[in-house]
Each structure stands twice: as structure tokens, then as C-alpha cells.
């Protein structure tokens, strides 16, 4: 599951990047993306500097898109009876943490959930532990404690119905929601 999700995530980031670049190359923003040949009378040094600047700009944009994709990832999944989030989600969560650090007025609510197996009260505890683990990781990576609130719904609010492993997988999660 961890690997699979990671791959899906990477593919999504890659796809967004490609779409983004394609969009850029067809914009009328000639200053940034003007073809090299049209810039006449430019010295070699100036040209190199300009290309470097363009490369940095592309990198910056790609970084931005990557961050946006990470911020758009608001559901984190867990293995059965495990409260630690998956290692593949570390980078995404670091982006969330940095975004919170950069926006001190932003507040989020971390909602922890469990699949239906086992007892309800124990699952309430498990959901809280999942949410708390993500909260603590966000704090370590720059978010402030007062930006984060946690709540556990245990198994009371499943994301998918049914008694299949696929449904259970979707239900073992922490959702990052905007908080008032």
C-alpha cells in the first residue's frame, strides 16, 4: 500500500509538472520563455546568465507545483493497527509543516480514523494516536502547536463502506481539514 501510494503520488507530481511545463511553453509570456534565436545581439555571458535564470525560474515553479501537490494531499493512510504514518508520506508532511510555519494564521484540524475491526472505544484511541503522531511530526518540522487541533472519530466515520480490505485501507486514515 505504501509503495503503491508513493508511486501514485510521484506520478501525479510528474504529471502536474509536465502539464505545467507544457502550459508554460504555450503561453504568451514571451519575456520568460522567448526562443533563444529571437534574442539578437546578446553576448555569450549575458545569454548564459539568462538561461541560468530561466532554469532557476523553472525549478522554482516546479518546486511550487510540487509543494502545491503535497498540500493538496490531505489524507494520509495507515497500516492495520499501526499508529505511525507511512515513511513515504514524510516529504508531503514536511511541506505541510513548512506551509504552516510560513502562514502562522493558518489552522488545521487533524481527524484520525480507524477501520471497523476491533472495539469502538479502542479504535477511538487508535484514531487519536494516528492524528497525534502526524501533529507531533508537523510541530517538529516547523508548525506551531496552536495551529493544530486533533480529533479522533475512531471507526464512526468511515470513508468507504464494506468489509473488504480495500474499504478498510481507505478508512485507516488521518484527514487534514481547515480549522476555524
Amino acid at each position: 500500500m505504501g509503495m503503491q501510494f508513493n508511486n501514485v503520488f510521484k506520478s501525479a507530481v510528474l504529471a502536474l509538472t509536465i502539464i505545467g511545463l507544457a502550459a508554460c511553453s504555450s503561453t504568451s509570456d514571451t519575456e520568460e520563455m522567448a526562443p533563444v534565436a529571437q534574442t539578437a545581439g546578446e553576448s555569450d555571458a549575458a545569454r548564459a546568465a539568462r538561461l541560468e535564470q530561466e532554469r532557476l525560474e523553472r525549478e522554482r515553479q516546479e518546486q511550487q507545483r510540487r509543494e502545491q501537490a503535497a498540500l493538496n494531499t490531505t489524507v494520509f493512510y495507515f497500516d492495520f493497527d499501526v499508529a505511525e504514518f507511512q515513511p513515504a508520506d514524510r516529504e508531503t508532511l514536511i511541506v505541510h509543516a513548512r506551509n504552516l510555519a510560513a502562514n502562522p494564521n493558518r489552522r488545521v484540524r487533524l481527524e484520525g480514523h480507524a477501520d471497523e475491526r476491533g472495539t469502538r472505544e479502542y479504535n477511538l484511541a487508535l484514531g487519536e494516536r494516528r492524528a497525534n503522531n502526524i501533529r507531533d511530526f508537523l510541530i517538529v518540522n516547523g508548525a506551531s502547536r496552536n495551529q493544530l487541533e486533533t480529533v479522533s472519530y475512531g471507526e464512526e466515520r468511515p470513508a468507504a463502506n464494506g468489509q473488504t480490505e480495500a474499504a478498510y485501507r481507505q478508512n485507516r486514515r488521518v484527514e487534514v481539514q481547515p480549522a476555524g
Partner: protein, 429 residues
């Protein structure tokens, strides 16, 4: 946006009424004949008392009621009883009665008698008076007496249950707390919300209930008075506030709070409002339940990695572990004998099935009562004869009941939505 309705205790039927289905009975049930009760009024009675008594006795599985079509006579008082009519039909017990109007009122009188066929004698007879709307209560009361006369233990037919239902699609679910007869009949809604409701519990005298409601977007404990419908929020601590459960002496409410970082067991003194922390461990401590003498509390803890059952003195101290031979043992509750613990058990990591089991804490003997895979929330009838629990059948949450020896089972299917978390009342009369 926030929809929470605490409904006053009225005799309104809820749509999600449950009806019992017997899924497993015993091999040699005791044959009982319950003759239709005579009635001197003009219109038909709203309730068929004899049918309710028959259903009650059959639902607990130990009895088989004689079909009316096979009855050779239909006596309604002692002088009409001919024991040979019932001996021929191999009946062991006979219940007869008649209902009459009390002159000048809405009240009725139910005169009923109970006979032992083998001994050819009347065991008892009595006259009960009540209103027309209490016929079902009268039938349950008669059933309780018959059950006690035959089995020697008190009947639980006059008891009530609470349970939670969830209806609707994901994202637009409606949660309800229901109150019903033990058999699911005469269901009423006590609370309705767009946010989850959990963990219904009874006060020992049956006059109040406690539960967890997420109506403020956070799990908080509420106490509601059944007669008036009045409710109050009992806790508002950061984190989990859950698992309220009254001590049998009624003075305290055990609960789970995670205000100090992880869920621990606390006891609230209801008279002084003083809160005492009973466990202090960085792992999860949850699902408290009291010993019968209110002096100890059992709970679930995963301090060794997996959930296991522990017991601790109600005044604090070092908890003692009670379960060792299971992968997952949780949500324990003492039976009235104070020795047997009903609990949710998953034997091994591989078996992946959660069943209801009983552990004798003196002998360590374990009896597994169910074969379903997703059992939870066991709740014991006050006479200790049956355990009701939540499970899943056909993709839906249903309530099942099983006798403490595992031989008798019945199911209360839900007509709509999922039902779960049954909570059996104490004796109410």
C-alpha cells in the same frame, strides 16, 4: 447546520423498529402452552398478551410454545382446565388468563394463572391492573414470573435496551440513539444528530443515561434524564472524552479522558464533582467497567503492544493483567456472578476474527460464544442469562444476542441503516 435533538420520553414509535429472529435454539426446549387470554370487551385488544408471552419464552430459546391450532381446549380460568388435555399434548406448563374492563374507566384487569401439568397443580395466579397502553408491559411482567417459576432465575423481559443507529450515505449520515423493549419493540428515539453518538450507558436505577456525542465536533460526555429528556454536558476536556459507565452503587462515573496526552481511565464522583485519575500510562487505557461491588475497575490497555484486559482498585494502585492467551482482548464486563468476564476476543494475529467470549477469572477457562467475525460491544442482561452485542451481517450492522452458555441465539435485524452498541438496562421494576 448542527442538528441535535434530544427527544422527550414519549411513546412515539421509531421507524427503525427491530424484530426478533431466532437463529439458534436448544435441542430439548421445555414445552409450554399459553392459551389466548379471554376478553370481555367489544373491540379487539391492541395486544395479544398470550402471543407476547409465547414469543418471549421462545426468544430466549429454552422454551417451545404450543401452537394454538393444536390446543384441545381454550380455558381462561382454573375450573375450565383439564390436565389430560395438556398431558396428551406433552406439555409441561400451562398459562391461562382473561382480560376484563374495569367499570367506568380506561383500565383493564388481567387475571392469569399458571399450572404445572405433571404435578397437576396450580403454581400461582394473580390479578394485574393497568391501562390499555400497558398491555405489553403486563405481558412482559407475566413472562418474567413464568420464567422465574420454571428456571429459578429472574426474567428480563421487562427490561429495555438502548442502541445507536447510523443511516444515510457517507458524508450525510444521521446518527440516532434509540430506546426500546428488550426485544426491539416500541422503539423511541432519544437523540438524533448529524455527528456520531457512541457508548450509551444506564444509571443503575435506570432513570438516567450517559453517552458520547460529537455534536460540538468533539467527543464529549452527556447525561440525560429519561423522564424529562433534560440533558447536560458532563465533560469538556481536550482530546477524547468517552466510555462513561456508572458504578453499580450509582455514586461515580468512570470514563476515558486523553487530556494529558493519551487515553487514561478517570473516575468522576457525581456528588462532589471530583475527578480522580485511575491509570497513568503513555499507551491507551480505555473501556472501563466496574466490578459488582464498585471497588475495582477493569479496562483495556495496549501497554504491552496489543489490547489486553486489566483490573485496578477503584482507589488507584497497580493494575493487574487478566488476559494472556489472546492477540486482542478488549471491552470486558463482569457477569452478575462477579467471576465471569464477557469480552471481545481475537485469538491470534492470523485468525482475524473478533468474537464474544467469557473468561472465568478464577479458573482462567475461556468459552467462545460466537462464530461471527466482527463482534463488539457486548452488553449483559441484568439476570446474566443473555448477552447482546453488535455484529455485521450482510454488510449491515445488526444486534445479536447469545445465551451465556452459547446455546441460544437470536438476532434483532435493523430495518434501515446500521444498528450497533446495544446497552441492556438494569431491572426497572
Amino acid at each position: 447546520m448542527l442538528l441535535v435533538l434530544a427527544l422527550v420520553f414519549s411513546f412515539r414509535l421509531s421507524a427503525a423498529e427491530l424484530n426478533i429472529e431466532i437463529t439458534r435454539g436448544v435441542d430439548n426446549p421445555i414445552p409450554v402452552a399459553v392459551v389466548p387470554f379471554a376478553w370481555d370487551g367489544a373491540n379487539l385488544l391492541d395486544e395479544d398478551i398470550a402471543q407476547i408471552i409465547s414469543n418471549n419464552l421462545e426468544q430466549v430459546g429454552e422454551f417451545r410454545a404450543l401452537s394454538r391450532a393444536n390446543m384441545l381446549s381454550l380455558p381462561s380460568e382454573e375450573r375450565e382446565v383439564h390436565f389430560r388435555d395438556w398431558r396428551i399434548l406433552a406439555q409441561q406448563y400451562l398459562v391461562i388468563g382473561k382480560v376484563s374492563q374495569v367499570p367506568g374507566g380506561q383500565m383493564v384487569q388481567v387475571q392469569w394463572e399458571f399450572f404445572d401439568i405433571n404435578r397437576e397443580r396450580k403454581v400461582l395466579g394473580e390479578v394485574l391492573t393497568g391501562s390499555m397502553s400497558q398491555l405489553r408491559d403486563i405481558a412482559h411482567e407475566i413472562s418474567d414470573v413464568v420464567y422465574q417459576e420454571i428456571t429459578g432465575s429472574r426474567g428480563a423481559f421487562s427490561t429495555k435496551i438502548m442502541y445507536i443507529s447510523a443511516e444515510g450515505a457517507i458524508g450525510s449520515k444521521v446518527f440516532k440513539l434509540h430506546y426500546a423493549d428488550y426485544d426491539g419493540r416500541r422503539a423511541q428515539i432519544l437523540l438524533e444528530s448529524r455527528e456520531p453518538i457512541m457508548s450509551p450507558a444506564w444509571s443503575p436505577d435506570g432513570s438516567q443515561i450517559a453517552y458520547v456525542s460529537f455534536e460540538t465536533d468533539l467527543p464529549r460526555i452527556y447525561i440525560q434524564d429519561l423522564a424529562s429528556g433534560q440533558r447536560r454536558q458532563v465533560t469538556n476536556f481536550p482530546g477524547i472524552n468517552s466510555s462513561p459507565v456508572w458504578s453499580p452503587d450509582g455514586s461515580k462515573l468512570a470514563m476515558v479522558l486523553s487530556k494529558d496526552g493519551s487515553p487514561d481511565i478517570y473516575v468522576l464522583d457525581l456528588a462532589t464533582d471530583q475527578l480522580r485519575q485511575l491509570t497513568d500510562h503513555p499507551r491507551a487505557e480505555t473501556e472501563p467497567a466496574w466490578s459488582r461491588d464498585s471497588r475495582s475497575v477493569i479496562f483495556t490497555s495496549d501497554r504491552t503492544g496489543q489490547p489486553q484486559i486489566y483490573i485496578v482498585d477503584a482507589n488507584g494502585g497497580l493494575p493487574e493483567r487478566l488476559t494472556f492467551d489472546c492477540f486482542y482482548c478488549a471491552k470486558a464486563q463482569f457477569l452478575p456472578d462477579g467471576v465471569n468476564l464477557v469480552h471481545v476476543r481475537r485469538e491470534t494475529r492470523q485468525d482475524n476474527s473478533y468474537g464474544i467470549a467469557i473468561l472465568n477469572v478464577q479458573t482462567s477457562r475461556v468459552i467462545k460464544l460466537t462464530e461471527t467475525a466482527l463482534d463488539e460491544s457486548p452488553s449483559v442482561a441484568p439476570n446474566g442469562s443473555m448477552i447482546m452485542f453488535g455484529t455485521t451481517a450482510g454488510g449491515k450492522g445488526v444486534l445479536d444476542a447469545v445465551s451465556i452458555d452459547g446455546r441460544i441465539k437470536f438476532r434483532l435485524p435493523s430495518l434501515q441503516g446500521d444498528v450497533r452498541e446495544p446497552s441492556w438496562s438494569p431491572y426497572l421494576n
